[in-house]
């Protein structure tokens, strides 16, 4: 049940009406209802994985209580590691086993030992990376005594399985979401209206920008050997907007939906393509994941304390693991590694905490520097996205090589029956709208909100891509 499907358009209003008109008497009723709805939502993908979700939820719930109850350090550690191993174990089996088995077998084949890998015939459960990380952060926070364990199993189950964030995030923290579910929510018109506007804007990003860019990116990447330099560059740009529109659009819809139910979720994107350096980019892109790795991996490793060598090591570990989180393929690892390389200069020069405020442009020379630094950051990000999108590292390098070797910059006719530069104007218009609303959550609220909303709906209806591309990219993670 995709967020941009007609089925969901029927599902959401029914859930909304039942939530506020039937189940709003107590917070327990609200939470229980949302848990049932969330499990139903998840079952629409594949009912068999409900047991995995339930098991993951109960493991963390139970071990969380045991960790808190245990007075002896050894016992606490035992429950802690049991939870970690169980959760990461499922993730490892479903997501990474085949990758390691195949890679190990290939490595042996390369040194002359002929083997064939024993592969598992398993489907990757939708959202496993997300709800596993929810549970892990909860258990880790209890272990380090940052929070108390949740005794109410329904409240905890809602924290893990809450349907707007279940399949593609944002990765919530117990410290942020649990306190909200523990109180009865009352209907707030302003919040609900904000939520509606955010859903509409999320839909624009998804069906107008992301899905249309996808048709171009796919046409270029799938036929990259016959593309010229301009088309290959545009392919990377289109993919950059595809993944941004897709993921941030989904996050906007998730956040907007939650506002309808009186819950606030963590902001996940903060206009990342207006970043002036790569450090700023990673403060603005997939914020819930990067902050998760910062708090639960980077800081425990020592963070930015210790020697420079240690700091460099920590940075590389974070980015490579982050890349690996996205998928079991060497290309994701390469993408993470490249971003670590990008980050390295600012770490060594101590400039990684520059540009903390949102960029502004004025009619002065400094703004030229700001503009070009944004363009440069976007460009190197696009270069890294090539690895993210390509099927193999070899193809990624070949793709990049062709950009520099081909030397032809004319618009080509693509397999999606469009010219490669055709959608660029729309992308630029989107960038202008985002630039003008970079201090806001979405561009609709405020002055002329009615007109802006009508224009967004018009764009969704008339300019959305429906027949060619539908799936959210991050559902595969």
């Amino acid at each position: 049940m995709f967020f941009n499907s007609l089925t969901f358009a029927v599902f959401l209003p029914i859930v909304f009406l039942l939530y506020w008109l039937v189940f709003s008497k107590t917070k327990s009723a609200q939470n229980a209802f949302l848990v049932v709805v969330s499990y139903y939502f998840y079952s629409c993908w594949d009912w068999r994985f409900l047991f995995l979700l339930l098991f993951s939820t109960l493991i963390c719930y139970f071990t969380g209580i045991q960790i808190e109850k245990s007075e002896r350090r050894k016992t606490r550690k035992f429950w802690f590691w049991l939870s970690i191993i169980a959760n990461l174990g499922f993730l490892a089996i479903f997501k990474y086993y085949n990758f390691f088995a195949f890679s190990f077998s290939e490595a042996l084949n390369n040194i002359g030992l002929q083997t064939s890998p024993l592969l598992l015939n398993v489907i990757l459960p939708v959202g496993i990376s997300f709800y596993t990380f929810h549970g892990l952060s909860y258990v880790i926070d209890i272990y380090y005594k940052r929070i108390n364990s949740e005794k109410n199993v329904i409240d905890y189950a809602l924290f893990v399985s809450y349907f707007p964030l279940l399949v593609a995030g944002p990765i919530e923290r117990a410290t942020h979401l649990l306190p909200q579910v523990k109180v009865k929510r009352t209907f707030d018109f302003e919040k609900a209206r904000e939520g509606v506007y955010q859903i509409i804007w999320g839909l624009v990003k998804k069906v107008v920008i992301a899905d249309t860019c996808a048709t171009y990116a796919n046409a270029i990447f799938d036929n990259y050997t016959s593309m010229n330099s301009l088309s290959l560059i545009l392919g990377a740009v289109y993919f950059a907007f595809q993944i941004y529109g897709d993921f941030s659009g989904y996050s906007d819809m998730a956040l907007g939906m939650s506002k309808l139910f009186g819950l606030d979720l963590l902001k996940n994107f903060n206009y990342p393509y207006f970043s002036r350096d790569i450090a700023e980019f990673w403060r603005r892109w997939h914020i819930s994941l990067s902050s998760w790795f910062r708090d639960y991996l980077y800081i425990p490793l020592g963070g930015s304390r210790g020697s420079k060598l240690k700091q460099v090591r920590n940075v590389f570990i974070i980015f490579v693991v982050s890349g690996f989180w996205h998928g079991a393929n060497w290309t994701f690892l390469a993408w993470g590694f490249i971003n670590a390389l990008y980050f390295l200069p600012s770490l060594l020069l101590g400039t990684n905490r520059n540009n903390m405020e949102t960029a502004e442009l004025h009619w002065d020379f400094n703004s030229i520097k700001v503009f070009f630094s944004m363009l440069a950051t976007f460009s190197i990000t696009c270069l890294a996205w090539i690895f993210f999108r390509a099927n193999t590292i070899h193809i990624a390098f070949d793709y990049i090589g062709k950009i520099f070797n081909n030397g032809i910059f004319t618009s080509q006719f693509l397999s999606n029956q469009r010219y490669s530069s055709e959608f660029l104007l729309m992308v630029l218009a989107f960038v202008m709208v985002e630039w003008n609303s970079r201090f806001k959550i979405e561009p609709i609220s405020g002055k002329y909100s009615g007109l802006k909303m009508a224009l967004c709906i018009l764009a969704i209806i008339a300019l959305g891509t429906y027949s060619d591309y539908k799936e959210f990219i991050y559902f595969q993670f």
Binding site: W20, F187, F189, A192, R193, V196, N416, Q417, R418, G450, M453, A454, I457, L458, I461, A462, L463, G464, T465, Y466, S467, D468
Partner: protein, 289 residues
């Protein structure tokens, strides 16, 4: 909650109004166009006279050269459409009959299309802008599973087939952007591309096809002489007995599958190049005219 209900009502009303306005706009554009494709060219036409009209899929579009018919004094147009099934060919012929086209002979490419009665979405979509302006079209689509949505929800068909009749196509139609679909009297010549020179059609099974039956009926009712033919394929085809099986069901279809031999006459296994098409057309003219 009341204020929110009013907001939602306003949004739904906005959506409905936009759907209606957009539907009207797009349909108006398509009703005033005639030079971008064969479907609109026929739909927006009045009575025409032809000695020969060719119908079918790409194996008609790429195989029959109207110019050769014209040289024989036969006014001809190739209405074959790449990707079309007999569903679309039948509908196009119905529209011609409705517009009092005077056609002496209809040549129908009826080979691989006999195996299914499904619509070809890529071509069927081209008829959808006119669904409310043509009882013929709405009745033809009435048996499809999504007919109710296509017919009763404003603008739904333009969203569902946005790649084919959506904003881009509407814009190109409104601005009169030309295509080459109607060039060469509808014939589209293929070069010596030498694409995939093998095919496997063992999975295809010819059936008693209701749209082929419809075409026969239309021709009978309007006094169009119908010549149904099977056109050539390259030599490396598995399941070539398909053509014989088709002949068993419909003995009246002329099996011309092997009249052009030699892969140098083909652009890909299922499609002859211009040289092959001319040779084939000459054989057809010689045999039937």
């Amino acid at each position: 909650m009341n204020k929110f209900t009013i907001l939602v009502a306003k949004i739904l009303l906005t959506i409905l109004l936009l759907l209606i306005v957009l539907d009207w706009t797009y349909t108006t554009v398509y009703l005033h166009s005639s030079n971008r494709g064969k479907v609109e060219n026929v739909f927006n036409s009045t009575a025409r006279n032809y000695d020969v009209v060719i119908l079918g899929s790409s194996r008609a579009n790429n195989h029959f050269v109207p110019q050769l018919f014209e040289e024989k004094g036969l006014k001809t147009f190739n209405y074959g459409m790449s990707g079309a099934h007999l569903f679309e060919a039948s509908l196009l012929l119905k529209l011609m009959a409705e517009r009092n086209y005077k056609i002496k002979t209809v040549i129908l490419e009826a080979d691989l299309g006999l195996c299914n009665e499904k619509e070809s979405e890529a071509i069927a979509a081209k008829f959808l802008p006119y669904i409310h302006h043509s009882q013929t079209i709405s009745e033809h689509f009435s048996g499809q599973s999504d007919f109710k949505e296509l017919y009763y929800i404003p603008f739904y068909r333009y969203v569902d087939f946005d790649a084919l009749i959506g904003f881009r196509e509407m814009y190109n139609t409104a601005t009169g952007k030309p295509t080459n679909i109607l060039d060469n009297l509808g014939y589209h010549p293929l070069g010596h591309k030498r694409g995939n020179m093998k095919n496997d059609i063992r999975a295809l099974k010819p059936i008693r096809n209701k749209y082929y039956e419809e075409i026969k009926q239309i021709c009978k009712q309007n006094n169009y002489k119908l010549i149904a033919v099977m056109t050539p394929m390259c030599s490396n085809v598995k399941g070539l007995d398909y053509f014989e099986k088709s002949n068993k069901i419909y003995p009246e279809i002329h099996n011309l599958e092997n009249v052009v031999q030699g892969d140098h006459y083909f652009s890909s296994c299922g499609h002859m190049n211009d040289e092959g098409a001319r040779k084939f057309t000459a054989i057809v003219i010689d045999q039937f005219f």
